[in-house]
């Protein structure tokens, strides 16, 4: 006697919870052979708004967390992803013609990518910051700080590795993220479930599945979004979203070409979503020098 399976409903991930789309809309995800794999939530403009609210809240605690803590959480995400390896292999093979070897390699690479960024969290300030030798009696330093709420359009063609490669650097420096994907929603939402069990505070990562062209313009224009990663958009959409983003002077990251996520990632994505803050503090002479300290 065979056991009748219990199919999963793929919902959105907002503020640490898994709500349906407020619009009630879903769309069908089909296997390579055309059979129904699942129904996924089709995110709306209002879901986007809710995700931004959640992300802003998540940003508060995540940006203040110690880099060591952020590193541990990212490493925990790698552990959780490793534990779900077979589930992701199954998902990656169901939606495409990828073989299980290739799918396994993608999951392994995604795990390694998270570990890579887990090790970055407590280096970013040292590598991209500086003590500034200013000409005056001041201690001046410049240090990168997270930009804020970053909307990431998930890269195409690399459902798990591309997603992880885009999200991890955003999170590593302390940003909160709203991930919008029109790629395989099953992979994205299952990744959200992985994240939900990784000690990442609610709202730091939010996942919306749906149609980029429908939701992204609202996020690009949203005044409480600080930055956009447009990797997942086509050139036309990139141009219109960048134009939408101009009204609130958002930071916009567009890769120079088609990223090769299988290669070591470089630092461009890490540097794209930080703000260099310079702080000045007087250094007083320890005696009444009469002004010789300057």
């Amino acid at each position: 006697m065979t056991h009748l399976g219990v199919p999963k409903t793929y919902k959105l991930f907002i503020g640490g919870a898994f709500p349906r789309s407020e619009s009630g809309r879903t769309f069908a995800v089909r296997r390579a052979d055309g059979t129904l794999a699942a129904n996924a939530a089709l995110a709306s403009r209002k879901d986007g708004r809710d995700a931004v609210v959640a992300a802003r809240k998540g940003f508060g605690s995540w940006s203040r967390a110690t880099p060591y803590n952020r590193g541990q959480v990212l490493y925990r995400m790698a552990e959780m992803l490793q534990g779900r390896r077979s589930e992701f292999v199954a998902l990656l093979t169901q939606g495409s013609d990828a073989g299980s070897d290739a799918a396994g390699a993608e999951v392994d690479a995604a795990v390694d990518r998270l570990v890579h960024y887990a090790g970055w969290t407590d280096k970013i300030t040292a590598v991209f910051g500086s003590a500034n030798p200013v000409s005056g009696p001041f201690f001046s330093y410049s240090a990168p700080e997270p930009t804020g709420v970053v909307v990431v359009l998930a890269p195409t063609g690399s459902a798990l590795l591309g997603l992880v490669s885009a999200v991890a650097p955003v999170l590593a420096s302390g940003n909160a993220c709203v991930l919008l994907t029109d790629q395989d929603p099953c992979v994205a939402v299952t990744f959200a479930e992985t994240v939900a069990t990784s000690d990442l505070p609610g709202g730091v990562l939010n996942v919306l599945t749906g149609v980029l062209a429908e939701v992204a313009p609202h996020l690009a224009a949203h005044a409480d979004v600080n930055a956009l990663d447009l990797t997942g958009a086509d050139p036309t959409l990139r141009a219109s979203l960048a134009a939408d983003a101009a009204d609130t002077v958002k930071r916009v990251y567009v890769p120079a070409g088609t990223p090769d996520f299988t290669a070591p990632p470089g630092t461009a994505r890490l540097r794209a979503f930080v703000e260099i803050k310079t702080v000045w503090h007087p250094v007083g002479a320890l005696a009444l020098s009469g002004g010789t300290s300057y």
Binding site: F138, P282, G284, L288, G290, G291, S293, Y294
Partner: protein
Amino acid sequence: MTSALTDPTEAPSSGDALPSWTTDVTRNESSLRRFLAGLPGVDPVGIEQRAAALATRSIKKASKLAAIDLAIAMVDLTTLEGADTPGKIRGLARKGIDPDPGTEGVPHVAAVCVYPDLVEAAVEQVRGTGVKVASVATAFPSGRSSLAVKLADTALAVRAGADEVDMVIDRGAFLAGRVGLVFEQIQAVKQACGSARLKVILETGELATYDNVRRASWLALLAGGDFIKTSTGKISPAATLPVTHVMLQAVRDWREATGQLRAVKPAGGIRTTKDALRYLVAVREVAGPQWLDPHLFRFGASSVLNDLVMQRRTQLEGHYSGPDYVTVD
């Protein structure tokens, strides 16, 4: 208003009623210490940069001549050497009365400043000229003696006719936190001064921080000092612009708090006209134009007078003067 300020007998003195909060804070040593510690801090970099910025003020033409005259009139022409003699004092006094003989309109200095045993010689010389006699006292310059000796020293100067007494505070006691002791000693010396005006030398070079300069300034003002004075001239650094800024802020704030006008005297290290004018700019900008008055601001100096005289001639004659054309006294 100006005449009242310039006449010591009519100026507000520490004998006037002080607001009642001053009684509260001076009730005992711990209340005094708490008050002084509660004064706003001084950021050293900020005050030094402000002083440097003000020092770039440019004074030209008629203003410069007026400023030089004012500076001359503010000089406490000083000699404080073991080798001082009545003859030396006589020369100094003549110089103070008429800094540039043969030139019209040069003001006399504010005072000559000498050791107590030479006050008498100085008084004899300056009588009727308007030049005052100031005397250091209280075991100058270290202040390391008993209160009885300090009071006797003061009495000696006052009896000999000193118009002003320049006392030193016990820096050791101040740095050890015994502010009550310092307060009482200033009060006692003030009493011993009678009608003589009291200058309280903080010896800022030994206080080491601007915060301490501010606290010591308030301590001296609370205890009745008519002047707060930077230095004995025996310790380096002596007067500096930023230290003087802090003290000018103290008298400005003291007036705000009590309505009384008290005076400031930087001493030591002011050698050139340029130095002196920078101080006058600081007086004007920090305390206010009201303090541009020999009653409320003095320079403790000696060599600066000749430079002021030379620069004054340069202003009038249109060419530079030389040291052989002013007297060495």
